[in-house]
């Protein structure tokens, strides 16, 4: 572990803004909320925040991106798969969001080899920060994502005048090359461990059981339609819970035609399983017609289905869905706890 002065960390970020070809983005205040956005200078960066509106997933899987372009010359069409390789230097990522990106890596790179995702991901740098503030709705500690020991290039922890820096990758190490750092003392290393340990007590929300029990619990709750209907009654099928989630990655693919009529592109954009027509096929058959079925699907997918295929629970406990759901029925922590209670009643 290294230690860097606060001013030297600022200088490093200024240096990256000035000389790295990639866009440097970081957490900033934006009115009432925090967001990841382009940094003009290190002053704009806030490392002490609770939760950003959207997660940094948007840098590896943007809301819209081109998968394919086509062009007509004479009578020939040329069709070209596209994979925008634009990486970002992302500063200030909380551990649960790092865990979410690791989860997406497993699916988009290791398993299904999605070229647009892979290129952006491999060209990106993630600088994590140990949480200093916890959002009301966050239950990352219960999901084991309040701290992480991988998924970052650098991980910084605020120690007052200095930051402890944990180097996660070779690229992270290289970033520090021209910056003044020193090795951490035993006390400093101890201090980081204490901060991480104390964090666990800072969460108001808690899953009442280990997340590893989720698949079994959900499987047993599948047919409890009264529960799902009751819960979904208020749901507006707006899909916001999907859109703000750092582990949701469903998309639809649409055609965008250029005005000349001869060229255009196929784009993928974020989609959500809560939206009414997500599972509708031509001629109207909808395989998840009831809002309760869609609501149930979201929780089943997060806690059970994805686990079956990839070995991860697909919720990192960030609390964004809870915060943004106007009907207040999107909270996985509450739903899972209530299901557990119903099972044991």
């Amino acid at each position: 572990m290294k230690v860097i002065d606060r001013s030297d960390l600022d200088a490093l970020i200024e240096e990256l803004i000035a000389s790295d070809p990639r866009d440097v983005v970081g957490v900033q205040e934006d009115g009432e909320q925090y967001v990841f956005d382009h940094l003009e200078s290190a002053d704009e960066l806030t490392l002490d925040y609770d939760l950003t509106a959207l997660s940094p997933k948007k840098y590896v899987m943007p809301q819209r991106e081109t998968l394919l372009t086509y062009d007509r010359t004479d009578d020939e069409y040329e069709m070209r798969a596209e994979a925008d390789p634009t990486g970002h230097i992302v500063v200030g990522v909380h551990p649960y969001d790092l865990a979410a990106i690791e989860h997406l890596d497993k699916i988009f790179i290791d398993t299904l080899q999605d070229e647009p995702y892979r290129r952006k991901r491999e060209n990106s740098v993630l600088i994590g920060v140990t949480m200093q503030d916890v959002a009301d709705n966050c239950f990352a500690a219960s999901m084991g994502t309040a701290t992480v020991d991988s998924g970052y290039d650098l991980m910084v922890t605020d120690l007052g005048d200095t930051f402890a820096v944990d180097i996660g990758t070779f690229e992270g190490d290289r970033l520090l090359e021209s910056t003044k750092t020193r090795n951490a003392t035993a006390e400093e290393i101890e201090r980081v461990a204490e901060i991480e340990a104390d964090l666990k007590d800072g969460f108001d929300r808690e899953l009442a059981f280990p997340p590893a029990e989720l698949p079994t619990l959900l499987e047993a709750s599948y047919d409890d339609m009264d529960f799902w209907e009751d819960y979904a009654e208020q749901c507006l099928s707006c899909g916001t819970c999907n859109v703000v989630c750092p582990t949701c990655f469903c998309f639809s693919v649409d055609m965008v035609r250029d005005l000349d009529g001869d060229s255009g592109r196929q784009e993928r954009r974020w989609d959500g399983c809560l939206l009414e027509d997500f599972a509708t096929v031509a001629q109207g058959e909808n395989f998840r017609e009831e809002v309760a079925q869609r609501h149930r699907h979201r929780f089943m997918r997060k806690g059970w289905y994805i686990y079956e295929r990839y070995g991860d629970v697909a919720c990192v406990g960030c609390g964004r869905c809870t915060r943004h759901c106007v009907a207040d029925v999107a909270d996985p922590c509450e739903v899972y706890n209530e299901l557990r209670e119903a099972q044991h009643a």
């Binding site: 394919l68 086509y70 020939e76 069409y77 069709m79 070209r80 798969a81 596209e82 994979a83 990486g87 890596d105 699916i107 988009f108 790179i109 290791d110 398993t111 299904l112 080899q113 999605d114 070229e115 647009p116 892979r118 491999e122 990106s124 740098v125 290039d153 990758t169 070779f170 690229e171 599948y222 990655f249 469903c250 998309f251 639809s252 693919v253 649409d254 055609m255 009529g261 255009g264 196929q266 993928r268 989609d271 399983c273 997500f278 599972a279 509708t280 096929v281 031509a282 001629q283 058959e285 395989f287 998840r288 079925q293 699907h297 089943m300 997918r301 059970w304 289905y305 079956e308 295929r309």
Partner: protein, 286 residues
């Protein structure tokens, strides 16, 4: 950064790169259905398993999944039978021989030939469901020695809805396969001297040995439950039934989430499923 060395990723072409397919022949089957014969560059074969599907891309319009209607035993161009029901499918119907489309795939799991080898095959198709089944029907007709008795049941809403009209006549005359057909109803304007009634009405009179028969079923969503019930009544065990299912698909390769059926992905784990795999899945609706 995530080092490429940590993955097994092949730095090759993107999975989203379609190859160019040229439509070389179009045959109208009904008012809404046409057969498209598609040639790949340099005459290469698609090299698919019967029951697999492709994603077909029409520049300027969009992309949609279609089961491959021809058997891999037939070399050269492959065939798709497409019903015009919406945006992409109507645009495909407007294409002409010589036009170029994009092809991705073949994708998904087709019929498990190893599992059905040596068995008597009972094909049950409803409407456009004949398209995926035709790939395996023709496979069996081309390699009769690999299978036992062959039987095909085909049901449509009305006579004018029948696909592959010429081929159906050949099947009806065939010594190799027992072919039976029905229509739900016969409008006054159409002629028909065969059976009428829903497809399930063809099952009770059939004589087959449930110990050596495998049923391969594809049709509209409502059909499966009734057909399976009729097959069970004939003593056919669940593990002797295979189904090809349709769902909304955007990527064809396990990412977009649209085709999910409980924990299964129809594009990866299907579209052909062994019935016991989906029997207890509520979202399979079978």
């Amino acid at each position: 950064m995530r080092s490429a060395a940590r993955t097994h990723f092949e730095h090759g072409e993107s999975e989203y790169q379609p190859i160019e397919g040229q439509i070389v022949w179009i045959d109208r089957h009904t008012d809404d259905d046409k057969l498209f014969v598609i040639d790949l560059p340099d005459g290469v074969s698609l090299d698919h398993d019967p029951g697999q599907f492709v994603q077909l891309f029409v520049p300027g319009v969009g992309e949609a999944p279609f089961s491959i209607a021809s058997s891999p035993t037939k070399e050269g161009p492959f065939e798709l039978c497409i019903r015009a029901v919406g945006n992409v499918t109507n645009a495909i119907h407007d294409l002409e021989a010589g036009d170029v489309v994009g092809i991705r795939g073949p994708y998904g799991q087709g019929f498990d030939i190893d599992a059905i080898a040596g068995q008597d095959l009972l094909f049950i198709a409803g409407g456009i469901g004949l398209a995926p089944l035709r790939s395996v029907i023709n496979y069996a007709l081309d390699r009769p020695a690999e299978f036992g008795d062959l039987t095909t049941l085909y049901g449509c809403t009305e006579p004018a809805e029948q696909l592959f009209p010429g081929e159906l006549d050949e099947w009806a005359d065939s010594d190799v396969m027992d072919y039976r057909e029905t229509v739900d109803e016969v409008p006054d304007s159409q002629e028909w001297d065969g059976d009428t009634g829903v497809i399930t009405s063809l099952i009770p009179p059939l004589e087959f040995d449930p110990e050596t028969t495998v049923a391969l079923v594809c049709g509209p969503p409502v059909m499966y439950r009734f057909v399976i019930k009729a097959l069970r009544e004939k003593g056919l065990a669940d593990d002797r039934i295979y189904l090809s299912l349709e769902r909304n698909m955007h990527c064809g390769r396990g990412l977009c989430g649209h085709c999910q059926l409980n924990e299964l992905y129809v594009c990866l784990d299907g579209p052909v499923f062994h019935y016991p795999t989906v029997r207890d899945k509520e979202e399979a609706e079978v």
